[in-house]
């Protein structure tokens, strides 16, 4: 995580911005450490240290940390960053404060494709699942924005979200139907509601490169995104190739959302909440919003997952439900206040 931020292009890192990044990183590391310590079986800090630094260390706690906790929390951080950044990009791209990969149906599409992949190609590996999720997310992007484009008049932000939720309902029904028919609902719901249970290093090794690469590209594209988010005319006037940038940004959100679903399943609200949270202290420039969203999103997801593990030890509570409950106040607040003040 740390090196991703340091690789960020530093154009004019004002001291206050560097300070904010630093604080967010500290919070992230603290949350991450706490998440590794807490669990059905609490482990000690010393064990964590030796599990990470000493390759010859052995013991129950060490293997719990290495094989269960660490991959899980790394996965959570990746998913949180991916969804938060995807949300930030969508909000800028559509100039819609309510845009979120979950609410606009991207994750539902990825989820339906995941169900289809598990039904028709049961032997598909992590990589295949991930590719299926990409395809599903891409299909739903085209579906939602195609439907929106069918209508000539500009669609209001609220209406756009309603269209997304209808597409979500449709795709969720497709996913349910497929998984019930092929009797794979257990496998599918392991993804959809199981959250990060049983995340392995193998999964992370497949998915992490995609997410990290997308995050880096997102940071690189954050300047054109800022221009786009103000006004299309301005963007063209400033010499931006808007079509090319827009396509690149849509592809980015698709990849980020698809990768997140491949790891954690259908998850709404993260992409909505985090960028708004970040905006309250980081301003409106996407050059700061995107990297900070990545860090804060990772922190939030690790927090939500820890909550999901701790509410009812030793059982797990589906993390998607917890995120939905935490997300509602934000959603209501943005519906009430944000739509008018945004951009």
């Amino acid at each position: 995580m740390d090196d991703r931020v340091s690789r960020k292009v530093p154009p004019k890192p004002s001291s206050s911005y560097a300070f904010k990044v630093f604080v967010c990183l500290v919070l992230f590391v603290a949350m991450f450490t706490l998440a590794v310590i807490l669990g059905a079986k609490n482990v000690s800090l010393a064990d964590i240290w030796s599990a990470v630094t000493d390759p010859h260390a052995k013991g129950d706690d060490i293997s719990v940390i290495r094989e269960l906790r660490l991959p899980r929390e790394v996965g959570g951080a990746l998913v949180g960053s991916a969804l938060a950044v995807a949300g930030a990009i969508m909000q800028g791209l559509t100039r819609n404060p309510l845009a979120d990969p979950g609410l606009l149906g991207l994750t539902a599409g990825a989820n339906a494709a995941l169900a289809a992949a598990l039904a028709f190609f049961p032997a598909v590996g992590y990589f295949g699942t991930m590719v299926a999720c990409f395809i599903g997310a891409a299909v739903s992007v085209m579906l939602v924005f195609g439907i929106i484009a069918l209508r000539r008049r500009n669609l209001s932000p609220l209406r756009m979200v309603l269209a997304g939720s209808a597409v979500s309902a449709l795709l969720a029904a497709v996913a349910d139907g497929i998984s019930l028919h092929y009797k794979i609902s257990k496998n599918v719901s392991m993804w959809t509601s199981g959250g990060l249970i049983g995340t392995t290093w193998g999964q992370i090794a497949t998915i992490a490169p995609v997410i990290v690469a997308c995050l880096i590209v997102s940071v690189l594209l954050s300047r054109p995104l800022t221009i786009l988010s103000t006004n299309e005319g301005t963007a063209i006037g400033l010499g931006l190739r808007t079509t090319r940038v827009k396509i690149a940004l849509y592809v980015l959100t698709t990849l980020l959302a698809g990768a997140a679903v491949a790891l954690v399943g259908n998850l709404a609200f993260v992409g909505l909440m985090i960028p708004h949270l970040v905006r309250t202290f980081a301003g409106t420039h996407y050059r700061t919003i995107v990297p900070l969203s990545a860090i804060v999103g990772g922190t939030f997801m690790v927090f939500a997952d820890t909550l999901a593990r701790m509410i009812n030890v030793p059982f797990e509570t589906p993390v998607a439900s917890i995120v939905a409950i935490l997300g509602l106040p934000f959603f209501l607040f943005i519906v009430r206040k944000g739509v008018r003040s945004f951009s």
């Binding site: 439907i147 209508r151 309603l162 209808a166 059982f315 439900s321």
Partner: protein
């Protein structure tokens, strides 16, 4: 339409709907995971069938069909009321989040009571009603702005948010207490008709018997409320009282349906629209037609769901969503003219 016609348009529409429903019932009775052939249908109904046929027909299929039909009627009526009093073409108890609220009520009940059908059949609708009312009040409060009143789109979107979060609450509540019930709840959320026995018919019927005449009696007020507040006040409608009473009726109808069939959305959206297209917007005519349409739609969805991919079938709510979501999109993008 000339006045010389023997039958009014309403009568024709009602007759056709009744016939279509009857046909669907007959087709649905015959097919299924253990089919009863049609030449045995009549003898069995008149009391001369084999034990097996009688059992399949009277204990399995008939109650289920009646229940889905009644639930569809309740949902359609609820949707028609909601669309009228909020002046919102997109209102539906499922989309607006009342179903999810009712679901939380039922979940809370299940947490503290065993899954015992006999005693709980009649309590569940009450719990669902309490949950639904709570949610309706919350949604109303959050979509209300001083000076502007309720904005239709904002009401729907607040409801969408609530139903996401309430489904989450339901799952969290369940999973903290009893792992075995989680499966039941997740099926129930998808709109699986689980109450398929005669007591459930009795649990649904009283609500409809009381509330359909009441809403018909109120249809003049609904006509006026659907216009605008000043007109309604001028015509002598006690708008605040009527709106609250009708809202209660809508929630009660949705809650009674949800407690038996689980979360089924879009029926309450589609049926009133179809009814309006058939007989026009006057509630005196629109309400009976949309009740019949709703009953038929859900029956159809359930018959399809039961028979595609037998034997376990597809949850009725899934079929309803597959039909309803495209319709919702169509309304949202091309029809609905209300300001966003």
């Amino acid at each position: 339409m000339t006045k010389l016609r023997l039958l009014s348009r309403l009568q024709v529409v009602v007759a056709v709907l009744a016939l279509v429903t009857l046909a669907t019932v007959l087709i649905g009775l015959g097919i299924g995971s253990s089919p009863v052939s049609y030449d045995r249908l009549i003898p069995t109904i008149t009391g001369h069938g084999t034990f097996e046929d009688r059992f399949v027909l009277f204990s399995l299929r008939l109650p289920r069909m009646l229940i889905t039909m009644l639930a569809g009627m309740a949902l359609a009526l609820s949707g028609a009321i909601l669309q009228g009093i909020t002046r919102n073409e997109l209102a539906d108890p499922g989309i607006v989040g009342i179903n999810a609220g009712a679901g939380v009520g039922v979940t809370v009940f299940f947490l503290f009571a065993p899954l015992d059908v006999d005693s709980s059949v009649y309590v569940i609708p009450l719990m669902a009603f309490a949950g639904g009312i709570g949610t309706a009040v919350l949604i109303y409060a959050f979509s209300y702005t001083r000076g502007e009143g309720i904005q239709p789109i904002r009401l729907v979107i607040t409801g969408v948010g609530f139903s996401l979060a309430l489904s989450g609450i339901m799952i969290v509540l369940m999973s903290t207490v009893d792992r075995t019930k989680v499966d039941f709840i997740s099926k129930w959320l998808a709109g699986n008709v689980w109450g398929t026995d005669w007591p459930f018919v009795l649990a649904l019927l009283p609500w409809l018997i009381v509330l359909i005449p009441y809403v018909l009696y109120k249809s003049r007020a609904l006509n006026l409320l659907a216009l605008n507040d000043p007109t309604a006040i001028g015509a002598g409608v006690a708008i605040r009282r009527d709106r609250i009473l009708l809202m209660l009726a809508a929630v009660a109808l949705a809650a009674s349906a949800v407690s038996v069939t689980g979360g089924i959305a879009f029926i309450g959206l589609m049926a009133p629209h179809m009814a309006r297209a058939l007989v026009g917007p006057r509630h005196q005519q629109m309400i009976p037609v949309s009740v019949l349409t709703g009953g038929w739609l859900l029956l159809l969805a359930d018959t399809i769901g039961r028979n595609v991919w037998a034997p376990e079938g597809v949850a009725t709510g899934i079929v309803a969503a597959l039909i309803g979501a495209p319709y919702f999109l169509y309304l949202l993008l091309f029809k609905d003219s209300s300001a966003a």
